[in-house]
């Protein structure tokens, strides 16, 4: 179990050459399936953002992320930054904002979305867009 906030800034290295390609900036989530689909990596010097598919990762550890391949994925979905995003119930009532996200680093599966009022289990997630994270009414 790991938090999105703990992954931010982790060095991202290639598994075979141990070459650092940058630091982890953010995780892209597919709300309907409740998994992390892509990671965004920013180069330390070039400041260029690289998108990697979750499948290209070898391991997400407490101190570093190891990747098998740095090849760009076929298509990268639009990224919606979860931490700080407003949460709307499907009834149209706001439930605060996303504080953090709890996920399984082995599989990328989202376990819960952390809010000031408590954790929302991942099976309540309905959709994630530029305006809000929409969740099933509890």
């Amino acid at each position: 179990m790991m938090l999105f906030s703990q992954t931010r800034g982790l060095p991202v290295l290639t598994l075979t050459e141990a070459e650092e390609i940058g630091v982890l900036r953010s995780l892209t989530v597919d709300a309907r399936s409740g998994v992390v689909t892509h990671v965004r990596v920013r180069g330390r010097h070039a400041r260029k953002e690289t998108v990697l598919a979750w499948g290209a990762l070898h391991a997400v550890g407490p101190d570093a992320v190891l990747v098998r391949s740095v090849a760009a994925p076929a298509e990268a979905p639009p990224h919606h930054e979860l931490p700080g995003l407003r949460i709307l119930a499907e009834t149209g009532d706001q439930l605060g904002t996303v504080q953090d996200v709890v996920f399984e680093p082995e599989t990328g599966r989202i376990e819960a979305v952390r809010t000031v009022q408590g954790d929302l289990p991942a099976d309540r997630l309905l959709g994630l867009g530029e305006y809000a994270l929409v969740v099933r009414a509890g």
Binding site: E90, G129, V134
Partner: protein, 194 residues
Amino acid sequence: MNELMAARSLTTRPVVTLGGDAVAQVKDTVFDAAAGRITGFTLSGRGLLSGPLKQSLPWSGVHALGHDAVMIADAGVLAETPVVVARREAQQGRVLHARVLTDEGTEVGTVLDVVVEGGTSGRVVGFRIAADKSLVRGSRRRRHRVYVPRGETLAVSGRALVIPADATRYVADDLPSFAARLGAFHDGRKEAPS
């Protein structure tokens, strides 16, 4: 009971898909000819400089009307404006500023706003009115603004609207207490031998 909302407060409320995207905001709320329920919303774009949209939102496309957003399944439920506006020209504008009479023939005020129920019903539950002195005694300087329940039967003619006389016993000064009064009003009607 679902949260009550004044129709005017719905203006600028964002229209959000279940996918989390805000596709528009509410411009005006449109009611049916009997002022009984919401038939839809006209829309404007989001942001300061965006104007009215050609598309509007029929009530059938609303997933839920909430405190912070109007939820829709996806942008596909938006319809070309004439569908909704045809009804709007028949009605909107007519309820606002209409005189409110009881079925006993007393004039009690004029309509300032329409109170609707949030959620999925789209029901009109009452009106916010500028009350005449016959209804509310008090300050001479300004008229009182109160909420009155709608009653199941209601006649709307364009310039006047007739409510049951007993509805005037359930007026309230603000929306939370109006919600409580509404419950009492409907309970009272159920028990009344008629």
